[in-house]
Symmetry: C2
Subunit: 264 residues, 2 copies
């Protein structure tokens, strides 16, 4: 199976990492729209236009399925992308909710969704969780957490102040949906802040979901990853390869070829 | 005189405000590239491309001069824009340094430049200040301060933590060049942090500079401001008008018509 991974920028590497670790794909084509990142504070129409342009990019590559790693695109543009693409397009919302239901089946659990402003204001996670019977669903747009990750700040006094800014008046959740690709990078800080809490990671959720739907074939002996971006593909390839470097160590049953091939 | 103001997004409204208050322009056309904001972490090539696209936008409007409010564009693309445009293009670096020299003529003064990563890494402010004889010039890329302003955070514990993050080990400066259009919004926090300090504001600096070069004509009885954006022009117009609402109160000698005319 050859798949594409689309993200607004580099955050989708957390999702790519989970897909690579699952060892079921011959080729993964990663495309990040780094020239126009971030999407989270932009208009619906703009995000839809960018998402359709991403489909044009993938039209030049042989993919059997497209994973939309970006939560903003998943809530805003997935429906339009479904109509245009002639292969399955999988977003992060349905897998995220599916994963949460598996991890925290008790419908009395307190669930918190965090993400960009677009993701939270769309209300998609919240509606989906409520339709699954969860009564206690909170949501918080936390764009500064994205900025901190982009600054390489994963802990410390700035992180503490920002967590307090968003969550000081929030009752401790039982589970948190990490509704932005950047947030797995601050999982440790969130665990320290809340103590015992289930964190739903989009990448792991997508792998679980694809598996449950029979989309994953047999284990493959090698996975070739190709990186593309709307600006500075060589830099994205370099960052991407560094980010994946230790995946083959933790999954040493199969040797992976992680190979970056840019469009430049 | 009819002028254009170009910014990557809404930050340039701080510059627009200074221009409107000066009461010398018949028409000011503001264009913000809100669909692709921010520029500060993007590549040179990308920023140059976007800047040239902005010139194409202004080709459809009668302007006598273009003010580039965005510091990132000013340091990265001004030279190219000069070559392409057939009217003067004024960036913020030269006026900012000019204003600093007037405010803090003592070359022994300690000067700090803060801005986006692109602005600081270009080294333009620093080189220009050194060529003017300033010996003690520091520079700090402070992208989180931009994120805070965009979140409407101008003071409080998050602001304090971020200021400490960037400046705790910085000797107190005598003057700070606010090398990002967002930073005038946090002037109060910066003054509280450093006490007695000269803050150089790009908008005021540009007005001073235009004046010193004889670019400003007579006072005009009214100034029409038109807002355009690469996404959601009506929202930009609304925010822009709100941001300018009190300018006519503080400058009540002349009644201004501030009128938003969008492209949508």
């Amino acid at each position: 199976v050859n798949i594409g991974v689309f993200d607004s920028g580099l955050g989708g590497l957390t999702v790519l990492r989970s897909l690579v670790a699952r060892q079921c794909f011959q080729t993964i084509i990663y495309y990040g729209d780094t020239a126009r990142v971030p999407y989270g504070s932009k208009d619906r129409d703009t995000v839809v236009r960018y998402a359709l342009e991403a489909l044009s990019f993938f039209a030049n590559h042989q993919i059997d399925m497209l994973v939309v790693a970006c939560n903003t695109v998943s809530v805003v543009a997935l429906e339009v992308m479904h109509k245009v693409a002639d292969y399955p397009v999988v977003g992060v919302v349905e897998p995220g909710v599916h994963s949460l239901v598996n991890a925290v089946p008790d419908r009395q659990s307190r669930v918190l969704v965090i993400g960009t402003r677009s993701t939270i204001h769309s209300g998609q996670y919240q509606r989906s969780l409520q339709s699954m019977g969860y009564q206690s669903v909170d949501a918080c747009a936390a764009p500064l957490l994205v900025s901190l990750v982009e600054e390489g700040i994963h802990e410390g006094p700035v992180m503490d102040a920002v967590l307090d800014h968003y969550f000081a008046h929030q009752e401790k959740p039982d589970a948190v949906i990490l509704g932005c690709t950047h947030f797995p990078m601050i999982a440790a800080a969130l665990r320290r802040y809340w103590g015992d809490v289930v964190l739903v990671h989009s990448g792991e959720a997508i792998v679980e979901w694809l598996d449950s739907r029979g989309y994953l074939g047999q284990t493959t002996p090698s996975c070739q990853v190709e990186f593309f971006a709307s600006e500075n593909t060589p830099r994205v390839r370099q960052i991407g390869e560094a980010f994946l470097a230790d995946v083959s160590d933790t999954q040493d049953a199969v040797k992976k070829e992680i190979k970056g091939v840019g469009k430049e």
